[in-house]
């Protein structure tokens, strides 16, 4: 019997798991995918917003500003990557300049720090590629960029080290509630009994909730965002996050530098009927180009190396819905966490545990908030490299030639408490295949390393989900 079961291992579920791992409780996380951080947390802009745009007084506003600050702690404790970019909001005409004043007032109420207005001339000294026809710029120095997969992995890895259990490929299909106890069934025919349930299932939170209560006050309306990724050789094109003025459709199409040197262009914003629709389109590219034009010049479209899309879990409730169910006690909703959900996630976890669940337990003496720093070999000093190489010679062999990732880093990604035995899992952890050639060179090498390390034949290595083998078993030539 678990004390708490968290449904969903996105950034929100993972940080909640870590928050609960402080206490002497039996906690488990159920995730339907073959890997964590595989849905919304996989495909977004990665911005730790300053909290300027959510309407003052909403939970979104409060938790964004708090979340932004908590990222500093995550950096110290989990050693996540954090790029202190700051951001420029750009007003392109008179009306937008007026709206910008309102945006500023709202941000002041939200207690966003250190903001200032800049003329376009002042802004262009710092960002020469801004469109000179921009009328006014609002600078938001507290805006940062993280690497959301990593935040989720590291939080969950830390939680696991502090006693939390994770079950992957555990699609929750049924929940029943009797005698102050929940019984959860998953598609892989496992049953979990738990005193409390935390529903952090992203776009599926409404469907999970209706398993237990048909009368919930929110419904998820999936909204897709498409992106273009520019190769890391673009580094320096834009150093700040560049926002247009927000509109009804959200924050708009952005230019976002990433922690590994790439730049994202996007997202689009389109209502979709299918919650799993992560297809990309020619229309998307067109839309992005049309909107980027207003903000930037010399856009290096020739450096596009990839497209992707993510689906926001936008809810009809219009704010985060983080509450205990009215009818079913012990069932907690963490719903409608669309943007700025990455930003707010650490604050959501604290808010849920401290103010909604109101846990008043002492922190267990074995709790260790520190996660050992992950080794990124190419970033080390010569001396550190030599020491590591002495011990593990495979740090000397490059596998991903575009990102300079070594064989030992691939092996590290496969093993460990939150390791992965898929091509995409290794890519998410070690970045092999994220570069210019998009895995054309290293995929077959990674596949062989996975097979060797997990003692499987080559044709059993999956691309991502179960049953997505790259090689065809029956067609081995010559056998």
């Amino acid at each position: 019997m678990y004390d708490f079961t968290i449904i969903g291992a996105g950034i929100v579920g993972s940080l909640i798991a870590r928050e609960l791992s402080k206490y002497d409780l039996k906690v488990c996380v159920l995730e339907k995918e073959n890997d964590v951080a595989n849905v919304q947390t996989r495909a977004n802009s990665a911005i730790v917003h300053s909290g300027h745009d959510p309407k003052h007084g909403t939970l979104k506003a409060r938790l964004s500003v708090e979340g932004n600050k908590l990222y500093e702690d995550l950096e110290k404790e989990l050693h996540i990557s954090l790029l202190r970019t700051g951001a420029f909001v750009c007003a392109k005409d008179k009306d937008e300049v007026n709206d910008m004043k309102k945006l500023y007032e709202n941000a002041l109420l939200n207690q966003v720090k250190d903001m200032e207005f800049l003329s376009i001339e002042e802004a262009r000294v710092l960002e020469p590629n801004l469109n000179p026809s921009i009328k006014k710029v609002l600078s938001l120095p507290t805006t940062k960029v993280c690497f959301p997969w990593e935040v989720a992995f590291f939080a969950l890895e830390n939680a696991i080290k502090n006693g939390v259990e994770l079950h992957r490929n555990a699609l929750v299909t049924e929940i029943t509630h009797t005698n102050h106890m929940f019984t959860i069934k998953t598609k892989d025919n496992q049953t979990y009994q738990t005193k409390h349930v935390i529903n952090a299932a992203g776009v599926y939170t409404d469907e999970i909730a209706t398993l237990i209560n048909p009368n919930i006050p929110y419904q998820i309306k999936p909204r897709k965002g498409e992106y273009y990724v520019l190769d890391k050789s673009v580094k320096g094109y834009m150093e700040h996050v560049i926002y247009p003025m927000p509109s009804k459709k959200g924050k708009g199409v952005l230019i976002t530098p990433q922690v590994h040197g790439n730049i994202l262009l996007g997202p689009t914003s389109e209502w979709v009927s299918d919650k799993d629709d992560i297809s990309t389109s020619l229309k998307g590219l067109h839309y992005i180009k049309e909107h980027i034009k207003d903000m930037a010049i010399n856009v290096p479209y020739h450096l596009i190396i990839r497209q992707f899309a993510g689906v926001r879990s936008t809810s009809t409730y219009e704010d985060f819905y983080i509450q205990e169910d009215d009818a079913v006690k012990g069932f907690y909703h963490v719903a409608g966490v669309d943007s700025p959900g990455i930003t707010a996630a650490p604050a959501i976890a604290k808010y849920l545990v401290d103010e909604v669940i109101k846990l008043s337990l002492p922190v267990k003496h074995t709790f260790n908030p520190i996660l050992q720093k992950k080794i990124v070999y190419k970033d080390l000093s010569k001396q550190e490299k030599d020491e590591l190489h002495q011990d593990k010679p495979l740090y000397g062999r490059i596998i991903c030639k575009c990102e300079d990732i070594t064989e030992q880093e691939i092996i590290d990604a496969i093993h460990g408490p939150l390791g992965s035995d898929t091509i995409k899992g290794v890519k998410k952890r070690a970045r092999a295949g994220s570069g210019l050639c998009q895995g054309g060179y290293c995929e077959s090498l990674v596949l062989r390393i996975i097979a060797r390390e997990t003692h499987k034949p080559l044709h059993e290595v999956n691309y991502d989900q179960k049953e997505t083998q790259i090689l065809d078993k029956e067609s081995k030539v010559g056998s």
Partner: protein
């Protein structure tokens, strides 16, 4: 192994091996550095026939062609490091090459001259914007070739191919012979981008349809590829209504172009050519960084390995001359200009102070021509004319320019006489 060399060659494919052989001289210290555990580069996965007619006067498979070069390199006892990746190159007085391998970890080699022969990589889905779902089962033709010819596995049973590049054509035949069904090849352009012999021997002989002026409208399949929908395009590459065709397949191979792998140029400030996406070189295959030469697919993409060898021998020869003579000659570089009938030229510049022998200007046409009449000029004056027959973008062309052709110091212009 030494820590300092006269000439270091990065990459041991056809280009690296050919350059090394020509650069060889018993007074010089030469080193070859190769990332793979074996010599040969891309030739190792090209187990089909059709290499070497020019250079070795016989028809060889890729590995056989490579082996001939390897045997010659072994005879000369040239130093080499396998399973060793070069991470970056910088230049002060001499070049400093940072490399890494299992035995030594990271280390530095100094060299007076460097020949870069790092080959090319294939354009992937992300480089060209193929709309639709994002399932597994979409990969470059070269990756599928490696899985089949090196690892021994097919990547699927029902295959569609986008792009009529040679690797895709060769894989259409290869996968058919191994029991897969290839349902068709779609090519955006109104002509094929592969060699004619490959269209005949890989598609026609196996009744595989080639859909010219077609491209992918959508790929469908959440986790695994289920189908590919193609559609015809007009001259402006806009889709034409009601021309969709749907193919139920588990694999989509991409054969949509190769791009020189020039990562190692990043740490040097070097003049580049946006058309070849590689270094700008003079007729001695020297880049704008003195003593740094580039050749083979790292310089521009070649369809025939024989051409790679011919070009790389020159790079080897000139690097050797550079190290032996090493005197400072002022540069007098002028560009080679060309009109819209030509996609790119190599070399891009000519150094008039270094004209001592004939040199080839290699180029690709932008379109198909049954007859192409070239006029080569300096200023207003025609210095040569040349007529080429059956010119297609897929096949590299060349014109030779002799020292005596040149009549002044003005840029060379290659123009096409309209017929």
């Amino acid at each position: 192994m030494k820590q300092s060399y006269d000439i270091t060659i990065i990459g041991a494919g056809a280009a690296g091996l050919s350059a090394a052989l020509e650069a060889y001289d018993d007074t010089l210290d030469i080193l070859i550095i190769e990332r793979e555990k074996n010599f040969g580069g891309i030739l190792n996965q090209c187990i089909h026939n059709g290499f070497g007619l020019h250079v070795f006067k016989e028809e060889l498979t890729g590995p056989e062609y490579a082996q001939k070069l390897i045997d010659l390199v072994m005879e000369k006892q040239i130093d080499y490091l396998l399973d060793t990746t070069v991470l970056n190159i910088s230049k002060d007085e001499v070049f400093s090459i940072k490399a890494t391998n299992i035995t030594s970890g990271e280390f530095i080699i100094e060299s007076k001259s460097v020949i870069l022969t790092t080959g090319c990589y294939e354009r992937a889905r992300g480089h060209v914007d193929i709309p639709g779902d994002r399932p597994k089962g979409i990969m470059t033709a070269g990756s599928a070739q490696r899985y089949l010819n090196i690892d021994g596995y097919l990547v699927g049973k029902k295959v569609f191919i986008l792009g009529s590049g040679d690797i895709g054509l060769i894989m259409a035949r290869r996968m058919t012979l191994e029991g897969a069904t290839v349902l068709g090849v779609a090519e955006l352009m109104p002509y094929s981008n592969g060699l004619t012999r490959n269209i005949v021997q890989c598609l026609n002989d196996f009744d595989i349809p080639l859909y010219l002026s077609h491209t992918i409208k959508e790929v469908v399949g959440k986790e695994k590829l289920e189908k590919v929908i193609i559609q015809q395009v007009d001259e402006n590459r806009q889709f034409i209504e009601n021309t969709e065709k749907t193919f139920e397949v588990d694999t989509l191979l991409l054969s949509i172009g190769l791009i020189p792998d020039v990562k190692l140029f990043e740490s040097l400030s070097i003049d580049t050519d946006p058309l070849t996406k590689s270094a700008l070189v003079n007729q001695k295959l020297e880049t704008s960084v003195k003593g740094l030469y580039a050749c083979g697919n790292a310089l521009h993409v070649h369809d025939l390995v024989d051409d790679v060898t011919i070009e790389s021998r020159k790079a080897g020869k000139y690097a050797k001359a550079y190290v032996i003579n090493q005197k400072d000659i002022d540069k007098k570089q002028v560009p080679i200009r060309f009109d819209h009938h030509i996609r790119y030229v190599v070399p891009q510049v000519v150094d008039y102070h270094l004209i001592d022998e004939p040199f080839d200007v290699l180029f690709r046409a932008t379109q198909k021509h049954d007859v192409l009449k070239l006029v080569i000029k300096q200023g207003d004056q025609v210095i040569r004319k040349k007529t080429l027959k059956y010119v297609v973008p897929a096949e590299m062309q060349k014109v030779q320019i002799k020292p005596e052709d040149l009549i002044n110091d003005l840029p060379i212009e290659i123009m096409v006489e309209e017929v």
